[in-house]
Symmetry: C2
Subunit: 321 residues, 2 copies
Amino acid sequence: MAALGMGPGAEFDLLRRIFARLGDAAPSDPLGDDCALFKLGGTTLAVSIDSSLEGVHFRRDWLDFMEIGYRSAAAALSDLAADGADAIGLLVSLGVPRADGQEHAAEEIMAGVAQCAQNVGASVLGGDLVRFDRYMLDICVIGSVQRPVRRAGASEGDGVWVTGYLGGAGLALEQLRAGTRPPTALRNRYACPELRLQAGRWLATHGATAMIDISDGLAADAEHLSAASDVGIEINLEQLPRWEGVDALAAAASGEEFELLLTMPPHFSDASVSTFRGDTGVELTRIGVCLRGGGGRRGGVRLLKDRESVTLPPGYDHFRQ
Amino acid sequence: MAALGMGPGAEFDLLRRIFARLGDAAPSDPLGDDCALFKLGGTTLAVSIDSSLEGVHFRRDWLDFMEIGYRSAAAALSDLAADGADAIGLLVSLGVPRADGQEHAAEEIMAGVAQCAQNVGASVLGGDLVRFDRYMLDICVIGSVQRPVRRAGASEGDGVWVTGYLGGAGLALEQLRAGTRPPTALRNRYACPELRLQAGRWLATHGATAMIDISDGLAADAEHLSAASDVGIEINLEQLPRWEGVDALAAAASGEEFELLLTMPPHFSDASVSTFRGDTGVELTRIGVCLRGGGGRRGGVRLLKDRESVTLPPGYDHFRQ
């Protein structure tokens, strides 16, 4: 997810062409960050917009309506976490099919949105309702941020860290695809992901140099961070904190985890990690290091397993059409 | 258009039910205003989200892609005008059909959005791009406001005023429906509506007591204002400033005009009107007066023609499905 959502390849090119057309109305840093930032008085605001579309981002046989609302809001709010922002509120444009005997659906969806918003102290500020052939949520999130952390900012020598445990969302999705209902805790990794706003703020105020939320998968999002910061990134797959039953490659590929991938200066200590865990209740694990970039094209991400470089199997693409 | 978009009857009821479910996450004044307002530091922010959907809000045989972008942005930004706000920026979630030989469409649409944003000094802050079966824009607008004017606030004796000339959008739409291309100036009333942000700010700082933008039609939006302010409203149709070739009833029914309907204290003078015209280049016309409300249910809007009460023919409903 991004202030300007980056899909793979072709869509990224399209976005570049779009921004070439915007002229003076274009943001100064349009591509490649989770939120757009702007100053207002003494405050920096962070904003982002995020689409969740039935058949692309969710399926009604996998999620109930409250979960659809919750998950869509979580995906949008996660962009604030990635910048180290506080959530203020969100606006929802909700598309609902006409008269399919699901009149309660809009209420349920919005109740899920509201639940997720409340969990991070945000309000539902407004919305729009439109009749549509599928369920669709466009959610605009607004936050404030004291020390914004962007994707650019990592330096050679910085440690690479990740919050929580990876692979649960992918495993849950795999089971849903296979037609089995995952155990509740696993299912919730997909249906009601925990948000990392508090963790993001903590990390921002304790010196994080670059940060992104894991929406495309650790490996793919590390590429984004590497490109934006112009550093190489080396990740030791053995060190990945993994959901039970998930192997390291699957954990590195699993998308929509909504955990944070970040870099910290080399001196970030074990004592600090303990403080983080105590303050947030969230795990924090060092998984790699930033290397010399070497001019944009080089660098990139190297995944190591038993000290050997490995490549990810064909990417996790949730079920984007 | 509204912070929480109000469609007619049934949708309004649905929104009420939705908000009953939101609990503490609900805004304090969720329904019946153009923007949601919240304070941040010393600033009051105004935000709104607005959907424009192919086949509902626009048709591709009536508008080119730049116009689709321009008009969708104008509809969203008009909510800021209605609150007397300054535009800061907007975020766009853009749905585009896959590979229909219209790869340039997204660029053209965003160029139209950007043009409209630039015209009112706003930036395109970010967006999301999603593959879709139809063209769709969800636009979230963000502004700041020094003296917000809401729909509630009109008192007995206040004058009822309107900016610009009414009926052009409806007439253009009528001609488009009939398969004829309207003359450019008329067509632009529909395709590239002028925004009233400067006018809205002027009116807000010069004492406007209540304000709304005309999206559902003057008569319908006067009802919203009357209900929110708990006043009766009497409008003299002869006084409506009308687009050439439009009769008074059509002007009162024409939707998506994006002019401002507002109330001013009784002492608002002809000299002030002249100043307004000089400062903004926009017409301002007194068309009626606020009467005693009488407790919510009574009051409402009375349209007078030759001093007789008239009713509007079946409402203008653009081409909502």
